[in-house]
Amino acid sequence: MTAPAGSLLAAQGLRKAYGPTLALDGAEFSIHPGEVVAVMGPSGSGKSTLLHCLAGIVTPDEGSITYAGQELATLSDARRSALRRSEFGFVFQFGQLVPELTCVENVALPLRLNGVSRKEAERAAVAWMERLEVDDLRRKRPGEVSGGQGQRVAVARALVTGPRVVFADEPTGALDSLNGERVMELLTDAARSGGTAVVLVTHEARVAAYSDREIVVRDGRSRDMERAV
């Protein structure tokens, strides 16, 4: 089986075990540019592992992942890190903002990792913070902002490099519905307008409803509902 035509990121036959526990057992995935795909499933089903594999953070035991025509497994760790720095963006549930850096420095972080000068990086960061309506938090540290604001800062950080794929792992998990939906709205709007694909891991249907389609992961196996129907 090969990746569906025109897909940006695709995976086939992923298998990954953590010790005796099988987290992925033949999972499939594909996403097109600009598409928002929800990865759903009960907790412990392997959603996060699938996301980590797709993002090249974790190497699967078996199976292939192709990103823009390249097989991730053939890339060195350094190359994969570079890919994550420049082409991917990440939003997690918690613990992602560096507490000692100010919000603007946090947003600028991925650009600086790519070697962009501090001034330029912070200018771009401010632009994204404005777009996510958190530019007034520039000088604040993450400890001084609310959860919803922090998550918006995180979204700004995920988007600041103009990534082709954003990986979001339960991005609203720690937020109330109002804040959560606002974050989803901002994230999907920004992604769609920039042609960025979003891999959205969530167990909440209302969050998944912001996607274009969903795949369900159960017991390490995935099911693409659109293709199944």
Binding site: Y18, S43, G44, S48, T49, H52, A55, I57, V58, A78, S81, A82, L83, R84, R85, S86, F88, G89, F90, F92, Q93, F94, G95, Q96, L97, V98, P99, E100, L101, T102, E105, L109, P110, R112, L113, R118, R141, A158, D169, E170
Partner: protein, 775 residues
């Protein structure tokens, strides 16, 4: 609030300290080791006065003080004692010749039976030395049969080399100075005891202060180990309903747990050191373990004060902290650190030390309290200044590379923590640099050129008797190149109690030319040598044709009073710099000019040039000397001798400083690891979006290196300042000892590197993506 409540809360805290699995134990153990070192040092320093007192008493009890004894007739309770000290290698040997004159003759302490002529009793250390291959040369010098050993009562240290040898015919040499007839050993007459070298006291005081201070700082830091985890634990306690005060007491109890274990460890360390003290010799001073007994009151004080201090430190550090059920809140932003009172501490230290400048020589007096207080204030000043400096500098550090930015921002957020961990290192380094400077300065001073010309002679032997024929014996001694013999005799203007004396030196032409420039010289010539001293009044006494008396009699000391007429042809010479290191003038005479019978009355100095290629040549010379007269003295001229005196102290200092730094390094590592673990999620997410391992590793390095660099800078400054001040106090020229600054800074930097290296594997492990898993 009842005592029961206090003890209940504290004991709960103690349980927390040791609970919590491996981490809890590690933390408690580190605290305990730090506290233990402190306790051991405290116990040691409280027992030093006692040890000195015991040594002093023992020394008094065996005193024979051969000077200042009255003349007394031979009786059945008298013994004649003669000094027969010698030196072996670097070590002094206390030797006495004893000639009991009756059945009730006194015995020195520790000696059961007086040795018969040809026998000796020795200290165990001397016995071992003589039995060893190393002591073979000494064996030749002490040709007596060992008939017994001296008990501990008669010794002031386990390593002391002492012998008492039986002798005969000593009565002929009674002179009340080095040979005396006594009826009892012990300090019967009030005598001035030689005061301990004030510089030695200064050194001891500073060593203890310098080693104690970082330990104190370490204890203060150690009781705060595991801050964040403890915060969570305390918050959880509040959540289940413990009130704020109870929670604080429980926190104090955790610190108490570590310090109680520390007391036990400290006692154990102390006993170990005490036992080891019996086998160590410092600056020629050794002790018996039993000497090192802290006074009970002081020991009790230590046992009470250390745990109490740990509780107080904890309560003090929690003063700005509000423990809420949902977490620990540091009250707002602590007020900006103020500089003035931080500067006050070192200034006060300087003020205490400054008045003592220049008292080191001439048996000056150092006020112990001022020395300790001043040094402590200066070092405490370091700990007070460092947080301010770290805050001020870190606040101004710009953002550079990303790793730098991460580290700097982290430090800006918690500069106090960083400074606290570095404080110990800074204090240790400052103290060590100062001490090192003091040592090398004092040592340099001790070896200041004496003026003795080492090119011309390396040893000097003084002989009161047996000088005739001695030259030949020395010439044939192994390792001797050449011998120059110079004798002097008293020369006065009257037979008895002369008013005017004339310096008289006797030697052959070669020998005299070492002292003066002579126009020509033949045996039988007499010279008047001038140009040596401002006081040349003797020239009027030693007029040609006048009769003078060689070896005149003095009250209580009869002499031969040999008449001698100053020859009419008194030739002139000019004193030159030479052999002795100073210029000598007066009459100089070749042996042929000496009236008969005078030679026996002369005191003879032999100046020996040694063959440096013969190892231990000086021992052969000493052996020859002892063969001629056991009571004679052979001195090694050397500038290298003293330099080894402080070697052991310096080694000890290095070892101590390295231990303290290692301990602090361990605590740095623990807090570093703790911090890393608390940031596991963050690290994983940073890796997720592509942060290089190098960047994070470097930021960990910066985070340790920046405060330590600042600490080392400050420590070097304070250390050099304190060192200079101490040298001034010791009245010694100030030399900056860059080597020690570099060495200590190097050790400090090494600690940073090791800590960083050791925290890298856990860092890399924590950076693995598994950290992202939440399920």
């Amino acid at each position: 609030m009842s005592i029961r409540q206090w003890s209940r809360d504290l004991s709960m805290g103690v349980r927390f300290a040791f609970g919590g699995g491996r981490e809890g134990w590690t933390r408690a153990l580190l605290t305990a080791v730090g506290v233990g070192l402190g306790v051991a040092l405290l116990l040691l320093s409280t027992s030093v006065p006692n040890a000195l007192a015991v040594r002093h008493d023992r020394d008094k009890a065996r005193a024979d003080h051969t000077f200042s004894q009255p003349d007394r007739p031979k009786a059945d309770n008298t013994v004649i004692v003669a000094d027969a000290n010698t030196t072996f290698g670097e070590r002094d040997v206390r030797g006495r010749l004893l000639e009991p004159e009756g059945p009730r003759a006194p015995r020195p302490p520790g000696v059961d039976r007086l040795p018969r002529a040809g026998e000796m009793v020795v200290s165990p250390a001397l016995k071992d030395l003589l039995a060893s291959g190393d002591g073979k040369l000494l064996r030749a010098r002490l040709p007596y049969r060992i008939s017994g050993t001296i008990g501990e009562r008669g010794l002031v240290g386990s390593h002391e080399l002492v012998y008492y040898a039986g002798a005969e015919g000593l009565s002929a040499r009674l002179d009340r100075s080095s040979v005396a007839r006594i009826t009892a050993f012990g300090d019967t007459v009030a005598v001035t005891v030689e005061r301990t070298d004030p510089i030695l006291i200064l050194l001891i005081l500073v060593v203890f202060t310098v080693l104690l201070m970082p330990v104190a700082v370490f204890i203060a830091a150690a009781v705060r180990f595991g801050g964040e985890r403890r915060d969570r634990r305390l918050a959880a306690l509040r959540l289940v309903g413990s009130d704020s005060r109870t929670t604080r007491r429980i926190a104090a109890g955790e610190a108490l747990g570590g310090s109680l274990l520390g007391l036990v460890l400290g006692a154990a360390f102390f006993l170990m050191v005490r036992q080891a003290a019996g086998s160590v010799e410092l600056m020629g001073v050794s002790a018996f373990p039993s000497y090192l007994t802290p006074s009970p009151a002081l020991a009790l004080l230590v046992a009470g004060a250390v745990p109490a201090a740990s509780v107080l430190v904890t309560l003090f550090t929690l003063r700005g902290v509000v423990i809420e059920p949902l977490g620990v809140v540091r009250t707002a932003k602590p007020a900006r650190r103020r500089l003035w009172w931080r500067l006050l501490l070192p200034l006060a230290g300087l003020a205490m030390l400054y008045p003592m400048v220049g008292q080191g020589r001439d048996n000056g007096y150092f006020n112990q309290y001022l020395v300790v207080g001043g040094v402590m204030l200066l070092l405490v000043g370091v700990t007070a200044l460092l947080p301010w400096i770290v805050e001020a500098v870190v606040g101004r550090l710009g953002a550079g590379a990303l790793s730098w930015q991460l580290a700097v921002r982290r430090l800006q957020l918690s500069s106090g923590t960083a400074a606290r961990t570095v404080n110990g290192i800074a204090v240790a380094v400052a103290g060590a640099i100062a001490l090192h400077m003091l040592f090398s300065g004092v040592e340099g001073d001790y070896t200041k050129p004496t003026g003795q010309d080492l090119q011309r002679a390396q040893m000097q032997v003084s002989l009161d008797r047996g000088a005739i024929g001695a030259v030949g014996k020395f010439r044939s001694t192994k390792g001797v190149r050449s011998v120059t013999q110079l004798s002097d005799i008293d020369l006065g203007d009257r037979r008895e109690n002369p008013d005017q004396g004339v310096p008289l030196t006797i030697g052959d032409c070669t020998a005299l030319r070492e002292l003066a420039s002579l126009p020509s010289c033949h045996d039988g010539d007499v010279f008047a040598v001038t140009g040596a001293e401002p006081d040349e009044s003797w020239t009027s006494t030693a007029r040609p044709g006048r009769t003078l008396y060689i070896d005149p009699s003095y009250e209580g000391s009869p002499g031969e009073a040999i008449a001698w007429k100053v020859p009419g042809t008194l030739r002139h010479g000019t004193s030159v710099d030479g052999l002795l290191g100073y210029r000598r003038g007066g009459l100089m005479m070749t042996p042929g000019a000496l009236p008969p019978g005078a030679a026996e009355r002369a005191t003879t100095q032999l100046y020996l040039r040694l063959d440096r290629s013969v190892p231990r040549a000086e021992e052969y010379v000493r052996n020859t000397t002892a063969g001629i007269d056991p009571m004679a003295d052979a001195t090694l001229w050397s500038s290298t001798r003293e330099s080894k005196r402080f070697a052991s102290i310096r080694t000890g200092l290095y070892v101590g400083a390295a231990c303290v730094l290692g301990l602090i390094g361990a605590s740095l590592l623990v807090s570093q690891l703790e911090q890393l673990r608390d940031r596991r999620k963050l690290l994983s997410s940073l890796v997720a979006f592509g942060t290089r391992r190098r960047t994070l590793s470097l930021s960990v390095l910066w985070q340790t290196a920046i405060p330590i660099a600042l600490g080392l800078l400050l420590a070097s400054a304070v250390g050099l300042g304190l060192g200079a001040l101490l040298l001034r106090m010791a009245a010694t020229s100030v030399r900056v000892d860059w080597a020690s600054v570099l060495a200590m800074s190097g050790i400090g930097a090494g600690v940073v590197l090791v800590v960083t290296l050791l925290s890298l594997p856990p860092l890399l492990r924590l950076m693995r993506p598994e950290g992202l898993r939440t399920e």
